[in-house]
């Protein structure tokens, strides 16, 4: 029986390519390693070698054909003794198999069946999956990365990642010099790190959306500019982390946004009164900021709306018992969000002092991982720059972030009259997997009440 020769993927991100040149014609005998064709992508032209021996039956794709999808059949290979009948129709069952294989997400370019990514443990696959075939050891050379940066991972980690469908790019290695080891892949596959395992969750829970395959990699920006038109600023590790985390967060978390205006006139008065009561200096001195009130109000609102104070995992929602609120700190350049843990148990003074201390330590680069990892909610405030309103990217593993705009005097209509009021606009970015629209709205309603009438937090 003839077998299909499929369009190879020359890189992990390749979706389609051009069949630039055939090196064989119908009826040619080929053996393993013979060059069959030249395949061209937007990046390179590569030779495609035979991985089986036999005789070329039919060439199914004409030379020069563009947009040939990865894993589409491009030729048939006849076994020993089979007649090379150029007019024979393509082998229907194997063609269908190839097409089905092409539709499965993340199918690697092999002529033999290769397993689709293993389903996450918590969610059974909707259809019975074929038992994963054993990957051939000799074919596990590290794939070149589309962005040109080499990923350091142990051979075993690569193999396990391939088998479990975990993307190495999404992992932080725990081995020497950040090398990805098997334990990192296992942790991601088990959902130990929700943000990292998220790609897996997508392919399993939404197989009909063809997922990453419709996202084309972005071209390297250097292609668009002359060499002398820019200077290269190498990435530091923080820049890389920001890029990696926020790209994952924005791509994988279904964000939506809720905006509400808060009249902070009363809050400003309370703040002035309280600050006036502070001792001049020494112990017990304090200077409350508007942001301290916002943090307190958010903590109290989170306690009343535990649905918002949650994290997504494939297995279950994590409903956090405490309001651990991250505060975005500008590091010029870069940013970090240290966390005020159990903010609901702390008074304004404690919150104020803690935020100040965290910010100072952040700027001195003295934060420890436990100061900024985790958290149940974040606040990002750009009000001091006069920003009226903005939307923030959710900080995984959290499910929401509140973007705070400037408190400014605005003309508002009150009881049918235009009056001046100090108004602050806030926008919450929500993870729709965790927080539905009305849930988020109810939270913001409570938050608004607390901000507009701080004393109501005492109720």
């Amino acid at each position: 029986m003839s077998t299909q020769i499929l369009m190879p993927a020359l890189s992990p991100t390749m979706e389609e390519g051009k069949l630039a040149k055939w090196h064989v014609k119908e009826g040619d005998a080929v053996k393993t390693g013979d060059i069959l064709a030249e395949i061209e992508t937007d990046k390179a032209t590569m030779e495609f070698e035979a991985i089986d021996e036999g005789r070329i039956g039919r060439l199914l794709v004409a030379e020069g054909a563009e947009g040939v999808k990865v894993n589409a059949p491009i030729a048939t290979l006849l076994g020993e003794g089979e007649a090379a009948d150029p007019n024979a129709p393509a082998d229907i069952p194997s063609t269908m198999k190839a097409i089905r294989a092409q539709m499965a997400p993340g199918t690697p370019p092999r002529s033999q069946p290769i397993p689709p990514p293993a389903p996450a443990r918590s969610e059974p696959a909707r259809e019975p999956q074929p038992k994963p075939a054993q990957p051939a050891p000799a074919q596990t050379a590290p794939p070149p990365q589309s962005n040109g940066t080499r990923i350091f991972a142990s051979p075993l980690a690569r193999r396990v990642a391939q088998m479990s469908g975990v993307r190495l790019e999404s992992l932080q290695g725990s081995g020497p010099r950040g090398r990805i080891v098997k334990a990192d892949v296992d942790a991601a596959a088990k959902g130990g790190a929700p943000a990292q395992a998220a790609p897996q969750a997508r392919t399993v829970s939404e197989p009909q959306a063809s997922g990453p395959s419709i996202i084309a990699p972005l071209a390297d920006a250097r292609l668009f500019y002359k060499d002398d038109a820019y200077v290269l600023v190498p990435h530091d590790s923080m820049r890389k982390t920001i890029a990696k985390r926020l790209t994952s967060a924005k791509a994988l978390i279904p964000h939506y946004y809720l905006t509400i205006d808060c009249d902070i006139g009363a809050l400003m008065e309370v703040r002035t009164r309280l600050n006036a009561r502070s001792p001049k200096d020494g112990e017990g001195a304090y200077k409350l900021s508007v942001n301290d009130f916002i943090l307190k109000a958010a903590a109290e609102a989170l306690m009343r709306h535990p649905d918002v104070n949650s994290s997504w995992t494939d297995a279950a929602l994590l409903r956090h018992k405490h309001a651990d609120i991250g505060v975005a700190v500008d590091l010029k350049p870069g940013l970090i969000t240290p966390i005020v843990f159990q903010a609901e148990t702390k008074g304004l003074m404690a919150i104020s002092n803690e935020v100040r201390s965290l910010a100072e330590r952040a700027k001195a680069k003295k934060l420890k991982p436990q100061d900024y990892e985790g958290g149940s909610f974040s606040i990002s405030n750009l009000g001091m720059f006069g920003i009226r309103n903005f939307t923030a990217v959710i900080n995984p593993p959290q499910a929401a972030i509140l973007a705070i705009g400037a408190g400014e005097e605005r003309a508002i209509v009150k009881d049918g009259k235009v009056v001046a009021a100090t108004v602050m606009t806030v926008t919450m970015s929500c993870d729709h997997r965790v927080i539905d629209g009305a849930t988020g709205a109810r939270f913001l309603q409570t938050f608004k009440t607390f901000v507009e009438e701080p004393a109501s937090m005492l109720l």
Binding site: Q134, P137, T140, P155, P176
Partner: protein
């Protein structure tokens, strides 16, 4: 005022002195307290002097095969005193080497017995004099000693521990070795090779019980061929000492008893931690079954108090203690990215003849984990270098996870395998799979080619068999 250190290590064995060196490298003011000899059991009464003894027995063995290699000679004799003397010299040379290392790293060596006084205070007693020291961190590395049972106590003359067995004054023509772990088997092999009638008693159903079952079986066959008597599933119930002989009562699993009379008995039935007289209980250190309880970082749970090596439990191996010493030193110094010891990456070596070496899971243990496994084996007889050396008894065995290719374990028996095992240790530490081992080029002709073949054999593709 007591002299103050950043770190005081109690015990100058391989765990302790290596920990001290690493501490010093990391800029910590460090002291080592040692009551006897730097280098501990390993250098003075264990690994090293026994290797010197075994080298002598190996030469003795080769002398009897001279014809095979084209030499002639007769009336060979050995001088036991000289063999022992050489072994002691080797130990002495290395102890001096450790002294030099301490000096080089500006580590204070305190002579005497240390006792914890709580809160970072230590007192060291020597000849009735006590000196106080203080340390921010104290690392307990007091090691272990041979285990004894009631009725089976060593007396140093007729009933020996390893310590007496390596400095014999007269050669025991009949020897009983109780316990077939690495220590028991090494002495059994040494004395058997030099001509003693050796009986080994093991309570479990096979010798070298921690090794892979096939290794145990192969070793047993070789030892029996050499004339050793192996009694497995057997215990020693009594030792009746005469003037220069001991009559031992052996009881088999099926209840049958027998008596044998030997010149000397070696006790090698495990070890116990040196947990006495250090003030552990007063300091609040938890001790279970003569071993200090620690977490993965060697922390005892008492602030500033750490423990490493034989004192904290198996595997009781110098290289494991050294590695723990480094981990603890780096944790104390706040080095980033320190990883806890992975005991399944600790190789084990037994220097009997033929040698035994292994790392990772045995085939049986690997099966117990429920994984699908694949096993490869390759015999010494298929290796050119082994044949050229005249060492054709042995084999190499690999155990892989059949799904992801992880090297789960490697087991070797035969000439020089203790020098070979590190190749598989590196593969495990780097998380290599069978693919990398298959594509690695092994030099020809070497014994290491068998390691390659045993990996190929796991995929049913060995080249030379």
């Amino acid at each position: 005022m007591a002299e103050a250190f950043d770190v005081v290590v109690i015990g100058g064995g391989p765990g302790g002195y290596v920990c001290a060196i690493r501490c010093a490298q990391l800029g910590l003011k460090t002291a080592v307290v040692e009551r006897e000899n730097l280098g501990g059991i390993c250098l003075n009464w264990g690994c090293i002097p026994t290797k010197a003894l075994l080298r002598s027995s190996e030469i003795w063995h080769l002398l009897h095969r001279l014809n095979e290699f084209g030499f002639s000679g007769e009336n060979f004799r050995f001088d036991l005193a000289k063999i022992v003397e050489r072994s002691r010299k080797v130990a002495g040379q290395l102890t001096n080497g450790v002294k030099g290392l301490m000096k080089k790293h500006k580590i204070t060596v305190i002579d005497g017995e240390a006792k914890l006084k709580g809160g970072g205070a230590i007192t060291v007693a020597k000849n009735g004099q006590a000196t106080d020291y203080s340390a921010k961190h104290i690392v307990l590395a007091t090691g272990a000693r041979a285990r004894e049972f009631p009725g089976l106590e060593a007396d140093g003359t007729l009933v020996w521990t390893y310590r007496h067995a390596m400095v014999p004054k007269e050669f025991p023509n009949k020897l009983l070795v109780i316990g077939s772990g690495a220590i028991g088997i090494e002495f059994a092999s040494f004395y058997r090779t030099l001509g003693a009638e050796v009986t080994v008693v093991e309570v479990l159903d096979r010798i070298l019980p921690v090794e892979d079952e096939e290794i145990s079986a192969f070793a047993a066959k070789q030892f029996v061929k050499q004339g050793m008597v192996l009694k497995t599933s057997t215990t020693v119930t009594a030792l009746d000492k005469g003037t220069n002989q001991v009559t031992a009562t052996l009881k088999a699993k099926d209840g049958k008893t027998e008596q044998i009379t030997v010149d000397r008995v070696i006790l090698a039935v495990g070890i116990v931690g040196n947990v006495e007289n250090v003030g552990l209980a007063e300091a609040g250190v938890k001790v279970e079954k003569t071993h200090v309880v620690v977490n993965q970082w060697g922390e005892t749970g008492v602030a500033g108090l750490w423990a490493i090596g034989d004192l904290v439990g198996p595997p009781w191996l110098a290289h494991k203690a050294m590695h723990e010493g480094v981990i603890v030193a780096e944790r104390i110094a706040g080095v980033k990215g320190v990883h806890p010891l992975n005991t399944s990456n600790v190789p084990g070596c037994t220097y009997c003849w033929p040698q035994v070496a292994s790392v990772g899971l045995t085939e049986a243990k690997a099966k117990e984990t429920g994984r699908k496994i694949k096993v490869g084996k390759f015999p010494f007889i298929g290796n050119g270098k082994a044949i050229a050396l005249g060492e054709v008894d042995g084999f190499v065995k690999t155990v892989f996870d059949a799904d992801n290719g992880e090297l789960l374990g490697a087991h070797m028996i035969g000439a020089e395998v203790t020098e070979l095992i590190q190749g598989y240790v590196i593969a495990r530490t780097l998380e290599g799979t069978e693919a990398e081992l298959q594509t690695s080029i092994f030099p020809h002709p070497t014994l290491s080619e068998m390691m390659h073949e045993a990996v190929l054999a796991a995929d049913s593709r060995p080249l030379h068999i």
